[in-house]
């Protein structure tokens, strides 16, 4: 039995997906911020991929300067609000808090960050504006955290920026790929709108850049191109029955759920295949939609790629873990009716299946959370761009420049899939690379 009953209205949905990190009120923020020790050369700052001056903004909150706190945050991270809500703080800033070493609860840095930035967004505190106009145009492909961060930095310098987004709304996985109990669509979109207002970049939605030729043309029409288009659909498992009805990719499922909320019909029994954070999200979400969920992973629990707290969240929602089982085929006629598994073991460091241990678990849905496809093929017409073995775009470490000097890339398309905060940091780094490149080109 699931811990949750299937939602039949938006209210039901909101109850089942109530935020795990609700916004603080002033009193809570005051008391929580008072606990910050103001460490010298603080470890939380070092643990933040965007290097936010965390002790400073917490001190600003405490002393009643929320606007200053938000400014400190946005100076380092344009997705300050979103990151406060969705960052895996347990393994980043909060995990680094010195209180952990004293067995005292670490500062709730993420929630304090969202608190400060929410007030800035709500009150439209504008900290940035576009720089003096420069006659160079940059195309940014993908309006996700990497692309938008890159666009903000470029606009600050006065460059013209056109952002091309395949979907109808901006912010990429921040809006399509994050579990709804972490952040709502509206919250993500509000932050992007707030940035748009300050920096004035243009976003072209449903841009239709779908062929290698489209990218060649971008290269011809712009002084530089930033590739931040992330990853594609869920990768194939290459097992029998994978194309049956009711066998979905996790990314596609999460995206549907985020848009359709209670209107999405999730059946009673769902099997989720995978052991990464996306698998945890998909499993948690199905459970919160009222389903009985089995999370099946090929290896041992300890070997899962997911963060421990993500698995804990899934378990708390009623998800059952099933380990050391590999899917053999999806059973059923037209529709998926179950998954046949075979047990596995790790022998001499290698995973091997144990023939004769096959068994079938019935279900109505199968969700594959087995990684996402790369979209590097779209760049096949661009001379010089290379991909690594996994299909990730190869870029220069510090400039994010690809093998083609005009093309820069960052975010999941380069990393293969990381956190929002990593994409923000990488997008900014790429912007710096682009600025250097363009300034050199114009002889500065």
């Amino acid at each position: 039995m699931s811990e949750f009953t299937a939602p039949h209205s938006e209210e039901d949905f909101e109850r089942n997906f109530s935020p795990i990190k609700p916004l603080m009120n002033r009193t809570e923020a005051y008391f929580e911020s008072s606990r910050c020790l103001f460490c010298y050369d603080a470890p939380c700052v070092k643990a933040c991929p965007t290097g936010i001056d965390i002790p400073l903004f917490i001190r600003q909150i405490h002393n009643g300067n929320e606007a200053g706190a938000a400014h400190t945050i946005y100076d380092s991270n344009y997705f300050g609000y979103t990151c406060g809500k969705v960052c895996p703080v347990e393994v980043l800033c909060e995990g680094a808090c010195v209180y952990n070493l004293q067995e005292v609860k670490p500062l709730e840095i993420g929630r304090l960050q969202s608190y400060a930035t929410s007030s800035a967004i709500r009150n439209e505190k504008l900290y940035f504006k576009a720089g003096e106009k420069k006659n160079k145009k940059i195309a940014v492909v993908g309006a996700g955290p990497a692309g938008i961060s890159c666009a903000c930095e470029l606009r600050k310098e006065g460059f013209e920026v056109d952002v091309f987004e395949a979907k109808k709304i901006p912010s990429g996985l921040a809006v399509h790929g994050i579990a709804p109990y972490k952040i709502t669509n509206q919250e993500v979109l509000n932050e992007v709108r707030y940035l748009e207002k300050q920096f004035g970049f243009r976003i072209y939605f449903e841009s239709g850049l779908t062929s290698p030729d489209d990218f060649v043309k971008l290269g011809q029409n712009y002084d530089a191109v930033f590739i931040g288009f992330g990853l594609g659909g869920t990768s194939r498992l290459s097992i029998e029955g994978e194309d049956k009805k009711n066998c979905y990719g996790a990314v596609e499922f999460i995206e549907q759920l985020r848009q359709n909320h209670f209107r999405m019909q999730v059946p009673e029994n769902v099997i989720v295949l995978g052991g990464g954070n996306t698998a945890m999200d998909a499993a948690s979400e199905c459970a919160r939609m009222g389903a009985t969920v089995v999370l099946a992973y090929r290896r041992a629990k300890e070997e899962m790629g997911a963060y421990e707290f993500e698995y804990d969240l899934a378990k708390a929602a009623g998800v059952k873990g099933l380990f050391q089982v590999a899917p053999v085929r999806i059973t059923g006629n037209e529709k998926a009716e179950g998954v046949e598994f075979v047990r596995t073991r790790t022998y001499n460091g290698n995973l091997e299946t144990m023939p004769g241990t096959e068994f079938t678990l019935p279900c109505e849905w199968v969700i594959k959370a087995t990684g996402q496809m790369k979209q590097t093929g779209l760049l096949s017409g661009i001379k010089g761009i290379e991909a690594d073995k996994k299909g990730c775009i190869v870029v220069h470490d510090t400039s994010c420049q690809t093998g083609n000097p005009k093309f820069f890339a960052a975010g999941d398309a380069v990393s293969g899939g990381e956190e929002v905060v990593n994409a923000v940091a990488a997008g900014k780094k790429a912007a710096a690379g682009i600025i250097t490149y363009l300034n050199q080109a114009s002889g500065k």
């Binding site: 008391f31 460490c39 010298y40 050369d41 001056d53």
Partner: protein, 449 residues
Amino acid sequence: MADLKINLAGIKSPNPFWLASAPPTNSGYQVMKAFDAGWGGAVWKTLGVPVVNVSSRYGSVNYRDSRMSGFSNIELITDRPLKDNLREIEEVKKRFPENAVIASLMVETREEWHRIVKDVENAGADGVELNFGCPHGMCERGMGSAVGQEPKVLKTIVGWVKEAATVPVIVKLTPNISDITRPALAACEGGGDAISLINTIQSLVGVDINTFVPYPVVDGKSTNGGYCGPAVKPIAMNMLKNCAKHPGVNIPISGIGGIENWRDAVEFILLGATSVQVCTSVMHYGFGIIREMKAGLASYMDEKGFRTVDDFRGKALPNVMHWEDLNLQYKIVANINEEKCIGCQLCYTACEDGAHQAIGLSADMADRKPFIIEENCVGCNLCSLVCPVEECITMQRRDDGSKHITWKERTLAGDIPKTFDDPLAGGLHHFVPRPSDALEKKKPLHYAG
């Protein structure tokens, strides 16, 4: 078992915890409730010609997550008719004969003093306390701290009271004076049976930075008030010590100022107080705090083997010296317990920016634990005070204890610096970095201007 009973100049009380003359002792209702909760005594809200108060009377200093760590008021003495107070004193004494009721008094003329002393004695008060401390409102009318600041006037008034009083007379002193022992001595000379201190410190508790009006705001304006609460405790204890150590001040003392738990009370008693008076913490948390205070004091006494409060009263006084009598040979240095260190580096930055650059950081950035540079350490304690971990930084003795020489002794021997560039300057051979080194050091984000 510890016996908490005390006797202050003839005023007996089941324990040393008294309510100070203040809003919590404004009425018989409150005093009865307090005695019922376990308070030993109560100094009634100051009686006199009833006043008219303003609305908006208190302001507070909130420090980080602590509310009212400092507290300021502009309330005056009682605004209730004397006869009502007398009737209630009588009722309280009837119901609680073992508890001490002391009437705080503030009037102007000799005749008024005589009459009010008789009145409160007839009502059953066990003693009187002369309010020579109130630093706002009343002093402008020549009473309160206006008296406490003029030892001669104070002595005269104590004399008037003694002409009429048969119960013990406590003289309450104002801290708004440069030498507290002068009014204390005047109280003795006037025949006072005890002193109590401190009353509130003249203060301006804060300013509303949007309206530019200080707190508390009375229709867009404000005035200075009297400051009390935990923040004033160190000032109170110093004045208590000054009086208790003065050979001329040979009457008992009731200690007041920021007391809110049993530890505070023990400290006051160790510095010579016989009873302690409490106000702000009761205004903050209510009478119920007495339970923790009594239980804490009793278990402390049991643990230390003190049977009565007298057994440890003043026990810290012999250990308070003049600066010139301290041992200049005593040498301690800081020690960091690496097991306990959590790597916040507060000790590093405190010593680096606020002391003697005697703490270093590892060149390995991953190792966040600072280390002590012993030869630079002057043993100031700062690092141990900022460290958030209990017992992580301790001060360890480095001299062998065989040498003892004081400033006074060195002065007598002529062994002290006398000129501006004297080679005997204490810090002369101590490490001081080059000024420009400050600019070359790598610093974290928030040091960037």
